[in-house]
């Protein structure tokens, strides 16, 4: 597996992920459909033309999913028990269909879990960046990461 174990994640280090992705209208419409989101801000070109952005927004939860998704194959694939939660999630710049996103992750802190032997809680700062270098999303996320010899290692 390509993910990093708890011991391999260096506090303070920033990882620039190689996965990039143009967020298409297909992504946005499909995502809104599967999550039953009907907002005209994301789906209705006529309504969106009258908004302050003059065009549809990408559903922010699709932005979140992509930015988190982009780090997985390089950092947590096969080395985590799961996501515990996020704090301070912001979308400072809107994303529109056609924007190309990349992602970077900084390790904020880590500590061994008291209750779950062989794993530790790692706080990641995830940032999504568009083709102009603007940060479009950021959040802190806590994950339960597996240690090299921890239960759950495969």
């Amino acid at each position: 597996m390509a993910g990093l174990f708890y011991e391999e994640l260096e506090v303070g280090r920033t990882y620039e992920h190689s996965v990039r992705r143009t967020i298409t209208e297909f992504d946005n419409v499909l995502y809104c459909g599967l999550t039953m989101c009907l907002s005209p801000a994301y789906l209705d070109h006529e309504a969106a033309a009258k908004s302050k952005w003059k065009k549809p927004l990408v559903n922010p939860f699709l932005v979140l999913s992509n930015v988190i998704g982009m780090h997985v194959i390089e950092m947590t694939a096969g080395t985590t028990h799961g996501n515990l939660g996020m704090t301070d999630l912001e979308f400072p710049v809107p994303v529109h269909p056609g924007d190309t996103l990349r992602s970077r992750t900084t390790i904020r802190s880590k500590r061994p879990s008291k209750s779950q032997k062989g794993s530790g809680i790692v706080i990641f700062l995830h940032e999504g960046v568009n083709q102009r270098g603007e940060v479009v999303m950021k959040c802190d996320r806590a994950a339960l990461m597996i240690m090299r010899d921890g239960e759950g290692r495969q």
């Binding site: 995502y31 994301y42 999913s65 799961g82 704090t87 912001e90």
Partner: protein, 149 residues
Amino acid sequence: MKSLAFEELEPGRVYDHGLRRTITEVDNVGLSCLTQNLQPLHIDADFAARSRWGRVLVDSMVTIGVIMGIHNLELTHHTASGELRIKEVKFPNPVFHGDTLRARTTITGKDGGPAAAECGAVDCLLEGFNQQGVLVMSCNWTQFVRKAG
């Protein structure tokens, strides 16, 4: 379903949303792969069977998307500006294929800002529960909702 304007969203009010949703394999594997989330816990049934969960774990980004979708459909789909920020999200319990989720919104505060502003900030606690009533997601967030004005 009628969306509520900023003025209609009253702090203290609790909305138990009627729409429920069974999370299927299509939702989880489809959305995980659509968003480059190639975590084997979400897309590799053999790997997941040998993990602590014993079966495929639903991507928490799918859970938050569906719970937000239920909220949006029943309260603000026409009045939400699309701008939002989230103070805290927790996923205290796992979601698996076949689980049926429901959602509850509690309005915790609001701030209309300047009288001329088109939107006001509404603070919400949004909770997601599975078919056993177990809390699978809680989220404290603020969304900007259009005024009736």
